[in-house]
Symmetry: C2
Subunit: 165 residues, 2 copies
Amino acid sequence: MELQLVNERRRGPYAAKRLSEFAARCRRGGLAVTPQRLAIIKALLGSGEHPRADAIFAAVRIQHPHISLATVHRTLETLCDIGEARKVTTLHDSARYDGNMIPHHHVVCVKCRRIRDIEIPRLDRILAGQSELGEFTVLGSSLEIQALCEDCAAKRANRTRKPRR
Amino acid sequence: MELQLVNERRRGPYAAKRLSEFAARCRRGGLAVTPQRLAIIKALLGSGEHPRADAIFAAVRIQHPHISLATVHRTLETLCDIGEARKVTTLHDSARYDGNMIPHHHVVCVKCRRIRDIEIPRLDRILAGQSELGEFTVLGSSLEIQALCEDCAAKRANRTRKPRR
DNA sequence: AACCAGATGATAATTATTATCACCTAGGTG
DNA sequence: CACCTAGGTGATAATAATTATCATCTGGTT
Ligand SMILES: [Mn+2]
Ligand SMILES: [Mn+2]
Ligand SMILES: [Zn+2]
Ligand SMILES: [Zn+2]
């Protein structure tokens, strides 16, 4: 088995661990531990959807009705800066974020934009050795697989099939 | 040698071939062959920069001073639709396009956003066998390596180094 | 308790992209 | 080779995401 989807169940414990370390990491990075930041990282870690800023905004708003959308954007960028989150996907619309910093890759449905994590140990092995690439110093990498999910494939099949008279 | 940059010289002949087939491909796709489309695909194939819509716009304007920016956006999307171009990069700002449809991957400088093509035959071999991935039907894939180019690495080193008194 | 660098909220500005729509033209048709 | 028409284009407005601004607030330190 070359490629394999990542099991969703692993997220719980991972999120708990990350959250417990978050305050310490902020301080290490010289960042204040604010309720907004906590709420945002919590929402991000709690989601496997690779959410956009507006989805995080909606989630966080429940507990923090006064939070500003600008704060959500800023904070997500900040989280990326300090290595607590990363941006994801090439199917270019709005930015999608990912709280999972364990190196992994993605399948994206080109139709509905659903994203699932995947692991490709053999690819990681290939990349592990590379720290230089011509004039470039390698920092990281990610593979994105463009695909069609079950639902969208079904819908497309329906649309294509001639309507029965 | 696992990963290898793609030689820039190959682009010339490739572009010429693609351009010569372009009209036929448009017709096959039911698209009119307009001077605007020709100018846009030509500009795209002529560039190794993975340009944005505005750069294509600027290039095309020289010969077609009346062309509209909206047409450039529309046409680039259309080219992607019919498989004559593709979008590129995750470092999320504006869309970058690529006329090179030979399967390949990219290194992106996280600082200046310069993009270079790379080939990873072993990765392609790994992916070639995969047409299904759980509930997903694989359509394509691309690896993006985040890196720092020589110039930006140098600048960063300067900035980091304490100024001599 | 007092201080202040940095964080936030509210809002405006910017920027990329898409939608609209009147006019135009590529590429059939007779 | 004159029409015809579906689809393409230019001009412009609308939308949507992100970023900038700035007055106010607060976490963390003294
Ligand atoms: Mn992920
Ligand atoms: Mn390329
Ligand atoms: Zn889907
Ligand atoms: Zn650079």
